[in-house]
Amino acid sequence: MLELRDVSAGYGSFQALFEVSLSVKAGEAVAVIGPNGAGKTTLLRAISRLIDARSGDLSMEGCRYNDLPAHEVIGLGIAQVPEGRRLFPRLTVEDNLKMGAFTPAARARYRERLDFVYSLFPKMKERRGQLAGTMSGGEQQMCAIGRALMSQPKLLLLDEPSAGLAPVIVQSIFELVRRIRAEGYTVLIVEQNIQQVLKVVDRGYLLETGRIRASGSSGELLASDDIRRAYLGV
């Protein structure tokens, strides 16, 4: 579904990604793991076209989209839950969800999608009139995921969904990811919380200093000595 070939990207004179290649097939859940500063967020920003790929190819369902304006990427069926959730704090929960259905195609299905998101997250239905900025971190993450689901994406990008949340909430966020998978969504998730994320995905890539260092099934990565030593502390 999503295919990156030799993608390099960066900011100004700083290069954050070096010839990164990865693919996500329909129905898969794939994780990009790696330490802080490895370029994980940059990778998702490049996929969403928030920054330009300096070289290499981005393609979605066989279509190269390197030059597509960022606001049209959602039309390809790619929706992103950005790092730190980035809800509109002074809009209500429902207005935040409405923003997720901004594109004309999504507007046509607004009611249906809203019902779907509310059935997935009944708590959001209770909080529909509340200002998003006044909710707890975990609730905000639900709202942010719900907002991305409003456009009925083919591929959901999740940027560090567990970051900044209390450990007990982190558990429930990964549980959410599992449920979204069960709904049939294809997911690409970027995480520092390696142990947890590898439990909910099929495959993973290890990104270090802008380069893919390893890839494999979750089981292989969890069993890999390098990863165990460097990241799992065992």
Partner: protein
């Protein structure tokens, strides 16, 4: 004493009517600032252009009044979009002071253009609406209409902002500009639309003012600074704050001007503004950042 009270009441009502008009102007300026983060110092000059456009269409071309009004609103709406595209867009990432200066440049440009085209004489449409007497109170029909229309326009804008996708995006964009593309929103289009809307509101204000005031190239100066101060007092970009501040300001002008002298109303209003700025520099109703 009874006489005095009736006139005081009249001043309060006139202040209320003026407040509606100022609230309309403040709404347009605030809307643009809230979305684009640039203050259009020349906002009232757009309104002045609208007044001349109505004058030209009605008095010179002899078109019906409603055609002249529609023309004025449409022209200023287009002018708002043009202003954004050619003046603001190139300096979007510039220093705020430079953004302010270019809109100041537009102010002088429009004033000079109006002077060259129409001269410095005071013009008016020659439309005189009757006054309405309620008991001992004497109210101008033009002001009553202006008040009703201004409030309706504000209500319509409010509904637009709260009920439509575009309106929701306009409210959202001021809260997090950077992620708008992830929502599929083309920020450039929102900017253009907002600028045209702000222009349209100035055009509507022109229709209402042209029934009450003479047109001259500097008429913008009678309304521009005060609109700006109202927006600052209400918390720049805060639509509700600007709405309330407009009515507070108008009361100072109207009642202050009645109790003392007309000019003193403005002195009081600006004194109140200065004191407010000392106590709450971010405005009376500053939104939480």
């Amino acid at each position: 004493m009874e006489f005095f009270d009736v006139f005081l009441l009249e001043a309060v009502i006139n202040g209320l009517l003026l407040g509606g008009l100022l609230a309309l102007l403040a709404l347009g300026l605030n809307l643009i600032f809230g979305v684009i983060d640039v203050v259009w110092i020349s906002y009232a000059e757009l309104m002045m252009v609208g007044m001349y456009a109505i004058f030209w269409m009605y008095t010179i071309q002899g078109a019906p009044l409603w055609v002249a009004f529609a023309f004025g609103i449409a022209l200023v709406a287009v002018l708002g979009a043009v202003m954004h595209w050619f003046v603001i867009r190139p300096v979007l990432s510039a220093e705020p002071i430079n953004q302010l200066l270019v809109t100041g440049g537009v102010l002088f440009f429009l004033q000079a253009a109006a002077t060259v085209t129409f001269g410095v004489e005071f013009r008016n449409l020659g439309v005189r609406l009757p006054s309405v007497n309620v008991g001992d109170i004497n109210l101008s029909m033009a002001r009553l209409i202006a008040f009703a229309v201004a409030l309706s326009a504000i209500a319509a804008t409010y509904l637009f902002l709260n009920r439509t996708y575009m309106g929701t995006a306009i409210r959202a964009i001021s809260q997090d500009r950077a992620i708008m593309p992830l929502m599929g929103v083309n920020a450039g289009r929102i900017y253009l639309l907002t600028s045209a809307m702000g222009g349209g509101l100035a055009g509507l204000a022109a229709c209402l003012l042209v029934l009450q005031y003479d047109i001259h190239p500097a008429i913008g100066l009678s309304f521009g600074p005060i609109t700006f101060l109202i927006c600052v007092m209400g918390g720049l970009g805060n639509l509700v704050g600007g709405f309330i501040a407009a009515f507070v300001f108008a009361q100072f002008i109207s009642v202050g001007g009645f109790v003392l002298k007309i000019e003193w109303g403005y002195v009081l209003a600006f004194t109140f503004f200065i004191v407010t700025m000392f106590i709450r520099p971010e405005g009376l109703f500053a939104k939480r950042r």
